[in-house]
Amino acid sequence: MSRADPADRRGQEQAGLVQEFMDHWEALSGDAWLALGGVDDVRRAVGEAVRAMIPDRASGTPAQVVAWATEELAPLGLPALLASLGCECVWWTDWPGGAAGAGDPRAASAAGPADEPGPAKAAVLQPQELAAGSDLGITTCAWAVADTGTIALYATPSTWRLPSLLPTAHLALVRPSQIVRSIPDGLRLMAEHRAQQGDLPSAVNLVSGPSRSADIEGDLAVGVHGPRRAGVIIGEW
């Protein structure tokens, strides 16, 4: 083994980063699922995550899930998947007046005004109420850091701030290729984004596990303000 194939070495390095990212995320009391087997595998992991992160509802009303309406999430077919899991899936769109509804994220994306408004209930909800009333928020991320167990979320019209903040739980989908070694490595990706787009996003949030506090006798408490549970799926889709 005098000369390793560079592609192999990159592959091994990537596998190492994935493992370290997962280990660190879990050490911060986060949940992690690995799904490297394609779309169906990721859908399976989403199912596991939903069952694990949303507590059983005694009332019988379906759990509400809010997700980013992005092209990136579209291939997963979340609305049908979530419906099969007994959840109602809501998206926020940038339609004039701010309507929200269940449906295909591509139809509801920033591509242009859609002609079919969402259900009547959703139409009157402000984004804040929509997110605050949800049991789970599903997002992707811009990059992730292996050393610290961190994901980076950029605020844009479609990738808004609240689904990762107000719901009881947050689930982020991360691709292995998005995982870098250190925080400075991630900030370099942010600098590249700035060079390409002409500016930084209005808000970038680095998240490392669920909301925590040690303000009561130094006793670690999870979920003081933000999500009580924070999950990641490392997947290829």
Binding site: D147, I183, A203, V204, S208, S213, I216, D219, G223
Partner: protein
Amino acid sequence: MPGILPPAGAPWPERRRRALGDPTMREAVGKSTRSLAEKKAAAYAAYPLGEAMRVRAVAARREALGHTDALLEEFTRQVEARGGHVARADGPADVGRYVLAVARRRGARRVVKSKSMATEEVALNEQLEAAGLHVRETDLGEYIIQLARERPAHILVPASHKTRQQIRTLFDDEAERSGDPPPGGDATPELTAFARRQLREEFLAADIGITGGNFLVAETGTLVLITNEGNGRMTTSLPPVHIAVVGIDKVVATWDDLAVLLQQAPMSGTGQLISTYTSFITGPRRPGEVDGPEEFHLVLLDNGRHELLGTAYEDVLTCIRCGACLNVCPVFRTIGGQAYGSMYSGPIGVVLTPLLGGLAHAPELPKSACAMCHACRDACPMEIELPRLILALRRTEIEESMEPPTVRLTFELWGRFWAHPAGFHLTARLAQLGQRAFMQKGRLTRAPGLVGGWTATRDSPPVARETFHQWWRRTRPGSPP
């Protein structure tokens, strides 16, 4: 002219007496500081990159001080180019006026705050409440302190002196006031759930969110905010107006500088490699975005900082408020934060309080709240020479003749007397002979004359039966003395 800090409350002897007479607080502070200090050491040991970045961060912070004004100008330009507003505040009144003007224009009534030393420094809550606004602290520790109507006891863990029973009582009272169900018990999840419910409502109803800031990045006009609970994200995402109040010392030039600096605060403060939430805020909500504040204001607070630039005290402005010096300080571990009578406690408070508020504001801190053990110097990630600065403040205090001339003369004569071997030997001999009358359980608890002032608040080990010189002569007969 230095800045203005809130009054210390009770005089120093009273604050000290109260602290020493509160065993519950002392045990809690002792426990939390030791645990934080251990976690810090473990974090740097486990993450060598952190130490490499720290060394570069010190250089970047000191470099930035050299051109603070230019960096602030650049920062201001960048924020304004994105539709944000920047104001410069000389002192507390300027901050209050600015925030109240925004509140009036918006017809705002409810304010949520995330933990901020700068707003503590200018007593912003009091100013806003006096004008009829409802202000709610949302960091769990600060919320507890606000309900108790106290001051933070520690830069990072403001309620570290409160027991869960005390916290439950505060929450029960608050539940009665607001008509909400009280916490189910005093277990951490029950107390936390109560705070989460209460504060969630405050966030959703707030008209203005006020934060501090850990750093400012000049090249993009970015505010950097570090929190663990997520209250910082709530405060900057939910209310339609976000106002950040940040000291002018928090500005760094570039993202390369920030990259090495960012993890130092959590690593040194709590031993985390990074805080749970780190937010980079670059201007208000942009067109098309559905959340985030419509208005973004940044108030740059001077309050005595600018005049420290270029002086021997300049390095104190590189402080990142991690609290590492508090956690290793034997004085802080003994008396806790509230005895300092300042929002800045521990070694950094001993230096920063008189520098920002004027030496006349807190002459007792450099004089009495430091044992010159140098533990803080070793703990400071920014390598601030706190013991040297404390000594310099003591010297300045004497030079400014704040002590009566007789005291000054006494010290001068004493210095000359001890500079001579015969004088020193004589003192040791007299002390050996005379100390028996003042001893209690093997410690010197009283002393005659001026020295009695010193032992009024401290015990001293007795002078040894044999002095070093006597021991030397006995064990090495014939060698030169």
